[in-house]
C-alpha cells in the first residue's frame, strides 16, 4: 500500500481529493527535517498555506482557529517547541534517504 502511494506521488497521479493529505504529509516531513521533532504550530501554518496556494480556499486558512484559545487554556499550545540538539545528523539522514 505504501509502495503504491510512493509510486502515485512520483508519477503525479494523486487524486485531487487527496491533495490536502499529501500536502500535510510533505509539510510534516519538511518540519522534522528542519527541527528534528515536530513543531505543531509551524506545521499547521505551513500546511494551511500550502493548501491555500493549491486550492485558493481562503476559508481553509482560518478553519479550526477557534480551537486555538481552547488549546491555550489547556496548556496544549507550544510556541517554542523543543528542538533536537544535533539537527545536522537529522539532515544527513534525510539526505541519505
Amino acid at each position: 500500500m505504501d509502495a503504491l502511494r510512493e509510486i502515485s506521488l512520483a508519477e503525479g497521479m494523486v487524486a485531487p481529493s487527496q491533495q490536502p493529505i499529501v500536502a500535510f504529509q510533505q509539510a510534516f516531513l519538511d518540519n522534522i527535517r528542519r527541527n528534528g521533532r515536530l513543531a505543531e504550530l509551524e506545521l499547521i501554518a505551513q500546511f494551511k498555506t500550502a493548501v491555500f496556494f493549491r486550492t485558493g480556499r481562503l476559508a481553509f486558512l482560518f478553519k479550526d482557529a477557534s480551537l486555538a484559545p481552547q488549546l491555550g487554556k489547556r496548556k496544549k499550545l507550544h510556541f517554542l517547541p523543543g528542538k533536537v540538539r544535533d539537527r545536522k545528523v537529522v539532515e544527513r539522514i534525510f539526505a541519505k534517504c
Binding site: Q25, Q26, L29, I32, E40, L67, P81, I93
Partner: protein, 279 residues
C-alpha cells in the same frame, strides 16, 4: 523499576496531558522513566506514506540512541511510535538492513531491545501488584476499551494481544475494579493524524466509535494513544455538531484510570485538561 522512555512528538506537543498522566501514574508505581537523550521524530504516517527508507531510518536512530544509553526496555506510549520502532527491529532481523541502517543513522544498531507500549508497562509492573496498590476502586466506571489500529496491528510486527479481539486493557481495568463492555469498534480506526487534512473522515469514524461505545452501555472510552484521544476528545464537539447528537463521552488515557484508582487527583493526572470532562 527503570525503563528507557521515548515520548515521541505528540507527548511533547498538544498531547502533553498524556505525558503528565503517565508520569504521575507510573511514578506512583515506582516506575522511573529515563528519557532517551536527543531523540528525534519517528516520521509517523508521513514517512511511511512518502518515503519507505526514511520511515525505517528515523526510528532506527532512536533505537540506536536507546541502545547506546544501555536501555534493555524502551517504553513508547504512542502506538505509532512503538510500531515504527518494532518495524525497524523486524526489518533488521535477517535481511542485511542492520549495516545499511547503522550507516544511515551514524550509530551502531543491534535491534535486540524490548519495545513496550503502555499496557505492557502495566503488565511488567504486574497486574496483581497493581490490584493491591488500588486505593480507590473504580466502581462507577463502565469503560469501552479502545485499542485503535496500532496497539495490536500489524500483528506480524507488534505481536501483542489478539489483533482482532484484544483483552489486555480490559484485564488492567478489571484489576482497578472497573467494569468494561463488549462492543464492536475496539480495533477500528479513528482517522489518526488526519483531523486537519481529512476532517470528514475523522468525524465520521469518531462518530461511529463514540456512538457504538454509548450504545453498548459505556460511560467512558479508554485509550492508550495520543491521536485516538485527540480525535475522540478534542474533536467530539465537532462530531456532536456535525451529527446533531449529544454524546458527552469522557475519554480517558489508560494511565488516567490507573492513576485515579491509585488515589491520584484529576489535576495531578491532567484529566482536567481534557476537552470532555465529567459534569
Amino acid at each position: 523499576m527503570n525503563i528507557g522512555y521515548y515520548p515521541g512528538c505528540a507527548l511533547h506537543g498538544s498531547s502533553n496531558d498524556y505525558e503528565q498522566s503517565l508520569r504521575a501514574c507510573l511514578g506512583a508505581l515506582d516506575v522511573q522513566l529515563q528519557e532517551v537523550k536527543d531523540w528525534i521524530c519517528c516520521g509517523a504516517t508521513a514517512a511511511h506514506a512518502l518515503n519507505h527508507k526514511l520511515s525505517l531510518a528515523l526510528p532506527a536512530r532512536n533505537l540506536a540512541l536507546a541502545e547506546r544509553e544501555g536501555h534493555k526496555q524502551l517504553f513508547a506510549p504512542c502506538p505509532l511510535c512503538s510500531m515504527q520502532l518494532l518495524k525497524v527491529q523486524k526489518a533488521m532481523a535477517g535481511n542485511g538492513l542492520r549495516a545499511e541502517l547503522s550507516q544511515i543513522v551514524e550509530a551502531d544498531l543491534r535491534g535486540d531491545g524490548q519495545v513496550l507500549n503502555l499496557i505492557q508497562v502495566f503488565q511488567t509492573v504486574g497486574l496483581d501488584k497493581l490490584k493491591t496498590a488500588v486505593k480507590e476502586p473504580l466502581k462507577s466506571i463502565t469503560a469501552a476499551c479502545y485499542y485503535g489500529c496500532l496497539l495490536t496491528r500489524p500483528p506480524e510486527v507488534v505481536h501483542f494481544d489478539d489483533f482482532e479481539q484484544p483483552k489486555s486493557m480490559e484485564a488492567v481495568l478489571a484489576a482497578l475494579g472497573a467494569k468494561t463492555v463488549e462492543w464492536s469498534y475496539k480495533t477500528e480506526c479513528c482517522g489518526a493524524g488526519m483531523p486537519m487534512a481529512s476532517e470528514d473522515t475523522v468525524l465520521d469514524l469518531a462518530h461511529k466509535i463514540l456512538s457504538n461505545a454509548a450504545a453498548h452501555g459505556a460511560n467512558c472510552v479508554v485509550v492508550a494513544c495520543p491521536m485516538c484521544h485527540v480525535n475522540l476528545d478534542m474533536k467530539q464537539a465537532a462530531v456532536e455538531q456535525r451529527y446533531n447528537k449529544k454524546l458527552g463521552m469522557v475519554i480517558y488515557y489508560l494511565s488516567d484510570l490507573v492513576g485515579l484508582a491509585l488515589g491520584l487527583s484529576a489535576e495531578q493526572l491532567g484529566v482536567n485538561r481534557h476537552f470532555v470532562t465529567k459534569a
